[in-house]
Amino acid sequence: MVDLSYTAAADTSPASTVSATTEGRTTRWALLALALVFLAVFLLLPLVLVFAEAFKRGWAPYFDTIIDPDTISAIRLTLLVAAIAVPLNLVFGVAAAWAIAKFEFKGKAFLTTLIDLPFSVSPVISGLVYVLLFGANSVLGPWLKSYGIEILFAVPGIVLATIFVTFPFVARELIPLMQEQGTGDEEAALSLGANGWQTFWYVTLPNIKWGLLYGVLLCNARAMGEFGAVSVVSGHIRGLTNTMPLHVEILYNEYNAVGAFAVASLLAGLALVTLVLKTILEIRYGHAIAASRGH
């Protein structure tokens, strides 16, 4: 029996040995074509359509929408919200990753799970929890209002909801990366007389900078594009509490397709820039970015 199978294997020509570990030519083409058609229909077409619809009537209506005061204020608010939410989550991500990756303590796995929690909550529920916390029926809302502080249907609510949904991005990028790097470099720096801050600044930060940038990139894309959570807390006040994605919705519901797609094209452009930068980071610094991908 053993001899038989051995001769059978030896008999096969090199060409057929190669084809034994790949699919046949026809199958290969069929699978490739199927995958390409699927990706073209589901990914490429929607993207192309955004720009096609935005420029359907030429440049003039496009720019009319972009320079409209409501659009400008939506762009400004989106940038402001991202400018607050991303740095806060960046600081949190670095701190949490430092504590989790550089130390062994009880409840570490549980803490890591808690950090991922916002990913398993619907964006609408992420908004809802702040409505319950600061709404008219809550304890906090009316009390803060008596001091003139508006959270809900105002900018602070939008910022909070955005922080909630983008909470895990930087941390989950850094934790596996810093765990993989261990504590050897830091211990060496400390034994050579560096203080804690110097160790972080001159040793740890250079080690994690590309992973950090990667996390910030994804965090920022989500912060600028978040719709569900922000929609629940914003109150949709034109020119005041409208972010770009919310403005897209308003224009679309007003049957202003060109306007909606014009604003959408800016967000699609942001998505494309994010993808290009992300790919560059992966190709050039793949080894310096944590293995975990996604989200």
Binding site: P46, E53, W98, K102, K106, S122, P123, T183, L246
Partner: protein, 283 residues
């Protein structure tokens, strides 16, 4: 860091020469509590304050049940489709060499990067009866936009990268010698893939399914434009929460949210069990 504790006994933290544990853990826990835990526990508290009878009335409301059915049903179908096509895409990206592969690989993450509202209006225009794809399907009698089928389409878009990105690294890691061994032992290509390779991929595929499914259940932005939002037909649970909130019916919104979270956690638990079972069996 790995030095053994001086004396046996319970220790919160292993000794270490690295500084900053107190500050970083303290800050992380405070931030986590303020941003995530307090707001989320508010949801639980509000639900508890409802009382059993009220909660039951909300849970058994026909519109609530229908919305939950639509959300979980469409998310399930979309995740199943993504398992097939996501695995195919991952396979093609890892195993085949063709021009534009890098660009295509990067494009897979588009649903992560593209704001959901943008995806929503783009897919709606695409599948509307007069849209690029919708006009091709209309003569066949297939309506996509403003039907549950539209919801499935949106959720396929949103969930695709979850499956591709969990399965892709596992395919990359497959030892080619295993395939060669199968081939030398007389397996044809189909047998090698279905009996040798696929079982090894199963845990990753299940994980991808779970992630895509969980995301699909909660998805809002990309769905509400294409769904048509007809109560009892194409109204998803997250939208019903928003509608109840706009009616200032906070109790109902809270109740639906809690039910959604509970079902999601239960399903993730089941999927975790399936995963550990398949890992034991095939891992």
């Amino acid at each position: 860091m790995t030095t053994a504790p001086a004396e046996a006994g319970w220790r919160f933290r292993q000794p270490s020469v690295i500084p900053g544990f107190g500050v970083t853990l303290g800050f992380s826990l405070t931030y986590l509590t303020l941003i995530i835990l307090i707001p989320l526990s508010g949801l639980v508290w509000h639900t508890a304050a409802l009382g059993w009878a009220d909660f039951w009335a909300i849970a058994t409301d026909r519109r609530t049940i229908k919305a939950l059915q639509v959300s979980f049903g469409t998310a399930f179908v979309a995740a199943a489709v993504n398992v097939v096509f996501g695995t195919l895409v991952a396979w093609v990206l890892v195993r085949y060499r063709f021009p534009g592969r890098r660009i295509l690989d990067a494009m897979v993450d588009l649903p992560f990067a593209l704001p959901t509202a943008v995806a929503g209006i783009a897919l709606t225009s695409l599948y509307a009866p007069k849209g690029w794809v919708g006009s091709l399907l209309a003569p066949l009698g297939i309506k996509v936009a403003y039907t549950p089928l539209g919801i499935v389409i949106a959720l396929i878009f949103v969930g695709l990268p979850f499956v591709v990105r969990t399965v892709q690294p596992i395919i990359e890691e497959i030892d080619r010698e295993v395939e060669e061994a199968a081939a030398t032992l007389g397996a044809n290509r189909f047998q090698t893939i279905s009996r040798v390779l696929l079982p090894g991929l199963t845990p990753a595929i299940v994980t991808g399914f779970a992630l895509a499914f969980a995301r699909g259940v909660g998805e809002y932005g990309s769905v509400i434009f294409i769904a048509g939002n007809l109560p009892y037909v194409s109204e998803i649970a997250p939208l019903l929460i928003v509608i109840r909130l706009e009616e200032f019916h906070y109790a109902a919104a809270t109740g639906i949210a809690t039910i959604m979270l509970a079902i999601s956690f239960l399903m993730l638990l089941v999927i975790n069990l399936i995963q550990s079972w398949s890992r034991k069996r095939y891992g």
